[in-house]
Symmetry: D2
Subunit: 315 residues, 4 copies
């Protein structure tokens, strides 16, 4: 490490990553979180929220293609999409690439983050916020879904892992929240979500989420991908009552990619299939998992990676 | 980061990982390299050679299963196996789990490393060095193969990436070396190798290796896996003149795993298939790659990740 | 920072020092504290206790000469000396260099630390533990002084700063403790102590100690020196009812150094005088300080450097 | 170390300091050097040039009082002052506090740095640049002094240590440069300079500078002070042909401070005297030093702290 500016991120309490910052573009605090935006040599612009690297210019396409397209391709012609979180606008951008989409609602609680992204992160949203099909709401997503009975073909949950007992996202990882999502899905609708880092110390994060989602949906399928900007594997989940994502033949995915004219950079139909095949140790961990996160006892993870359940009491 | 002891590893010139060391078990220098062995909370015992984390107690099985079994399962009944490198003995251990193996020769230039591993890393070799089928040679693997005309069913190359112009491993990543390996393979024989980290900055490491191997073998197949102890994806290659690894039906792999009574922790037959499916960006990079590493102009990578070719002149 | 092993020490919550460890000689935990001993390029062997670098082979002479000799030279012929703390034996070593000393009692609560120092830190004690004039006691120094009515010509307090509410050393920085020390001093006796780091964030540490000592002794004189191994200035205090250390002429110090045949490496008579001259900002801070640490409300410092008073309740 | 932004500074090749940056105010590159300005909790605004922390808002007064006032107070009524370097304007500010000053010329080669300081570092210059007595020149100081025959009562050299063979400041630490300065001093004139960090590894920096200055001036007096923002002791030198700074009685300094109405925060007359008293190890090192830096063989220091002499060949 040469002299200069670095961003320190604790991956676990024992391992930390230092990233060289060539230039700090912004740093500050919204009502909800700290944010940092800086330039790096290898990853371009990097966005950090609170303790976690969120996204990097050069490889955000990997995360966002992985989160969005498997769900969108599971549906024959998604017209309406709801996004929980996703403040920087890239999830919205990928959703809007599917020509059948008529309405995409993005709901992120942090209005100041959305405002900042609009101005400072054009590489992420690429104008998506201004697409006439897009609707950006800055409220609590759960409250909004509860009070708005509209239903959707696809709902995408783009949230950080609930690390820390005081993490407000804990109430967005419970059986009751997934039931609400299910009520807001049209018949044949699909939910996709970021479903936790997969790491030795935090090896229960994804299994607990999977186990909880499985309480609610008929089909719950895990997949995983390596996200370079995080130096980590992350789990994702596709869930639906109407359609089983792993039952697709590659041919259907292939055809839909072609028909929708999606020029993907990371995904292919065979690679989507491959992501759905989990290694044995992860399969075993999912099978062995018993914890179900509920509103009464929402789960969280300690910094050390232990899974816990306790009532959520905001300060 | 709390007060205490850390090991600093530079992943790129811009990103570094600090790992908390609970206890330092050994540190020193062999004739060839620095070594460090320490205890960590999350990964157990960790072995570092020179600048790179090499292996960790808790997840070395992922790396070693990934390196060894796809090749061993590609062969109907491998009897003789040669290992280039692999000083800590875990590659040898995995090879010996295949009951058809009658002779496994491991050749690592660093005798002091092998001696230290024998004593301090029992979790890795688990007695493999003392298996009557094992033969441990501490010489330069290329020189040994050149002067010993024995042939093998499987040859496994377990080396670090050639980062740095003065890296002596450079001469073990050339067309001429792969031709030598091919001459030492029995008909139907298979080579497997660790084939480079896959990283934004170092995105050409795997493609250059792939391109070079492809000069020599009829079938050259890349696969990749995430190695938690490295926080990175790594590429691997299967190469053969007699057998195409991706042409297998899952059924054959499944059967061989069962018949050989292999209780694998990370791999399954479908997961081996899935590892062989690459994402589009990596496929494109492999396709676009032109550099072929030769004895006259062996490739190396700069710390910044640039691919270069230049004569190797040991100091 | 090159790849390798480092020790991380937080100087304040905002500034941290990383020291390269060439070799780790020992690490572990006594009943009272973590310890680390390692080799460094610039400072030789380094001893760390809990969060703080304690002493380094190449410059421990600066700290120990600074702590010991001003007090010893203030006394015309010190025969009996008591040391509070000082487990690694170098304070004892410096005390024993004064030929008038007939008895030197060192009392450090941590028997395992003393045992380890005896074996692993010969550069510090240099055999002092085996001097027939030395008596090593491994008990709580305050309890021992309370129950043993022997009196001394010089008492040296060699403790770490009371950082942290749970710091057991807090009860060794109170008016009552200094009164006990005074009762154990012979007429004309002198107390010397390490009296706190002097740092922007922790600028009240030394003033509070000074203010507390001044409650008890007729003459309380601060001096300071830079301790390279800490990268910090530290305060020290000389206190006595019988003798005013700043009233000495240089001539007396000079004469005593010569008569006692002390070959000092860092101190000279004029430099001792100079250390007693404080810069204006520190003088002002001492003058302004109001806090007096008592058994009922012993002071401590937060990690951020704030001075607080609260009852001490060991866990 | 909590998550967040840090500045990494290598103090030696073995020890590094990380400082938490609350906010990055500016970073970039002038034609001569990298610069960074950031907010910290403990030190306020911090200025870094290239690899070295230069100055911090909360304690720059210590460095600048130490550099400027001993020289200014050595002169009965300094009217003209020349400053070599000192781009951020605080040295100039302190000089201008002496009411006898009629002309203060500051010459710093880095015009972009001066421009940036004027705008972003008002806490340093406090308007000094706009004082009618001040003249700011942005040229090479040595070239300017050579071509401008004006003479001064005090010349202050405020430069970084010549670490690195390619360091352009090397030619400002030679006998010939000090001879030039001497020719530009009025009778009774005094030179003051920052004269090198004092550190185990770099223990010859100050002695070599002292030895070189002593070739030129009749009186060469070293003093030292601890600069909190650097976590280091630094050496300073007063040199003159007409006046011996250590021969002053405290009374004279005291009187001049009072007459000039200087409200100093760190210095007092006795403390100035005390700074001139060096510890024995440093005195010995100065006495033993043989190296004299010349234009033909200007000295420099390696990163490891070794003193070397070699011709300076700018790239």
């Amino acid at each position: 490490m040469e002299y200069g500016m670095y961003f320190l991120e604790q991956v676990t309490p024992y391992e930390a990553i230092s990233r060289r910052m060539e230039k700090v573009l912004a740093s500050g605090r919204t009502r909800f979180q700290d944010y940092f935006i800086f330039e790096t040599q290898a990853f371009g612009k990097v966005l950090v929220l609170d303790k976690d690297v969120q996204s990097a210019e050069r490889d955000e396409y990997i995360y966002h293609e992985t989160l969005v397209h498997p769900a969108m391709l599971s549906h024959p012609a998604p017209e309406s999409v709801f996004i929980v979180g996703g403040g920087e606008g890239a999830t919205l951008r990928e959703v809007l690439r599917h020509p059948s989409v008529k309405r995409a609602v993005m709901c992120d609680i942090d209005d100041q983050l959305v405002e900042m992204a609009r101005e400072l992160l054009p590489e992420w949203h690429q104008g998506a916020f201004d697409d006439p099909r897009a609707q950006v709401i800055t409220e609590d997503a759960r409250a909004w879904l509860e009070t708005h009975p509209d239903t959707y073909d696809v709902i995408i949950v783009d949230l950080n892992d609930p690390i820390g007992e005081d993490n407000p996202a804990r109430m967005l990882f419970t059986v009751e929240f997934y039931e609400l999502i299910k009520r807001r899905l049209n018949p044949g609708g699909v939910m996709a979500m970021q479903a936790g880092m997969i790491l030795l110390t935090h090896h229960r994060v994804h299994p607990v989420i999977h186990r909880t989602v499985r309480e609610v949906f008929r089909y719950t399928r895990s997949y995983r991908n390596y996200i370079p900007e995080f130096f980590l594997n992350f789990g994702f989940i596709l869930a639906s009552d109407g359609v089983d994502p792993v039952a697709f033949s590659e041919g259907i995915l292939e055809t839909r990619i072609r028909e929708r004219n999606l020029s993907l950079r990371h995904l292919t139909a065979p690679f989507i299939e491959a992501m759905l095949v989990l290694p044995k140790d992860l399969q075993d961990a999912i099978q062995a998992e018993q914890m179900v996160s509920t509103d009464a006892l929402p789960m969280y993870f300690t910094d050390e990676g232990e899974a816990r359940q306790a009532p959520y009491r905001p300060e």
